[in-house]
Symmetry: D2
Subunit: 150 residues, 4 copies
Amino acid sequence: MTESISAERLAGLKEEFRRGFIAWVGYRVDEIDAGRLTSRLDVRPEHRQQDGFVHAGVLSAMADHTAGYAAFTLVPDDHRILTIEYKINFLRPALGPELVCRARVLRAGRSTLPCEADVFDRDGDREVLAARALLTMASVPATRLNRSPG
Amino acid sequence: MTESISAERLAGLKEEFRRGFIAWVGYRVDEIDAGRLTSRLDVRPEHRQQDGFVHAGVLSAMADHTAGYAAFTLVPDDHRILTIEYKINFLRPALGPELVCRARVLRAGRSTLPCEADVFDRDGDREVLAARALLTMASVPATRLNRSPG
Amino acid sequence: MTESISAERLAGLKEEFRRGFIAWVGYRVDEIDAGRLTSRLDVRPEHRQQDGFVHAGVLSAMADHTAGYAAFTLVPDDHRILTIEYKINFLRPALGPELVCRARVLRAGRSTLPCEADVFDRDGDREVLAARALLTMASVPATRLNRSPG
Amino acid sequence: MTESISAERLAGLKEEFRRGFIAWVGYRVDEIDAGRLTSRLDVRPEHRQQDGFVHAGVLSAMADHTAGYAAFTLVPDDHRILTIEYKINFLRPALGPELVCRARVLRAGRSTLPCEADVFDRDGDREVLAARALLTMASVPATRLNRSPG
């Protein structure tokens, strides 16, 4: 796993992380390093489901996007990351007021990067594991992005 | 698999489907029947990711919530559905302008209901399979909802 | 998805399917076509677990290998298939005396091929769905096989 | 998570682990504790696939069974464990001559127990992570075992 990523590239990815759907929901980068990313979300009323818990979709998107950008730190500058697939287990309902997601690349393959991501339900200093995900990311040359992940 | 669900209960679930995060993102029920649900989403700019595709998180939440409410049609009135886990494969980037999700229960167990959900990228009459999910739902008495899915 | 696979290549894959672990456990090809494969297993006492059901591992290996060879029918002759990952849901305990697995490729990407596989518990003419799997296969040039799936 | 499991019960589970399919393939318990299990396998020629690697099915069954018995240590004596589902990522081909699997329960729910399991390819003192699995186990009263996991 190459560890030679520049501080500039990390700063660029941190900025790029927060666009479109991700900015709209409110996720942000907390820490970024080669093969690792931590993100956070301040839970808002619109993130909840019918029973008052944070919607599983909010946790899933967080695990997916956080792992995707952890993978981004390990691929060439002219490559993009697409999610091939993932699986997520919901261990406990998340209540907020904050979520923290920690993701890391398990193996930096040439074209696929398996990752894991944990989503914690955070209240002050108390953190409880709410969900665990196992994900597969694809590294794709940007020039082939109009096509599909495969 | 009980097929005795009343039209009233179906109408109630259709209404209840669209709350909190789900209403905010914009998903809506198209068709609902015992063990089956079809939902739709008009893609908006805030649903997209950095490359212009619909964010994977939008597809995931749709698969999860649609399957969850398909499961809801097969459990007693005093039970709620929680997602234990799911896995989703992204087959092709989704572009919009519309997404359609079709979910069905594979087996209505007493406490767990495995389901499948397909998300289609739709443009006019053209539908392309964008993602496929395999999910496990838990049927939980409402009185135990303050606890966890297990 | 190319459908131009020759009868010779199909016959070769059918032969190659049954080697090593697969031959030892006893799986065999029933039908093979472009992007599709059906396999069978006569359940033997050594396939069972502590409660008398067929061991989940027997169903998993069947789903995995059958989907892998379904993918094999859609890649160039000098490529090999490796399993990147899969997920499997066990819907009902399998009793035998026979298992049938039907697998198909969902999308024949250049480097990854998502597949699905169903394992049926079969007794005479009665078939019951025992497990469903969603899998991701990698198409790898044979010359790079000493390395890893990524 | 109850830690009150007796040494007797652990010894009984260690014994029971190795039956039917599991004994036939050759898996054995190395260490067992509340919520944790380590198993081993001496790789034999019949465990390999067409390219000489250990068959993915051998790794999967190991992850599944090891996690299942890790879960067994945390349920009442009159309950049995059934696998609801699992997902496994293959990170690197396994060569042997030995496999080691370490599994642990992530959360001991009343009826479902999410677990994780890592399979290592071992040669002397060198261990390489070959596969990682995320699994959901069901705790079922033995009296209901003739029915299904749900």
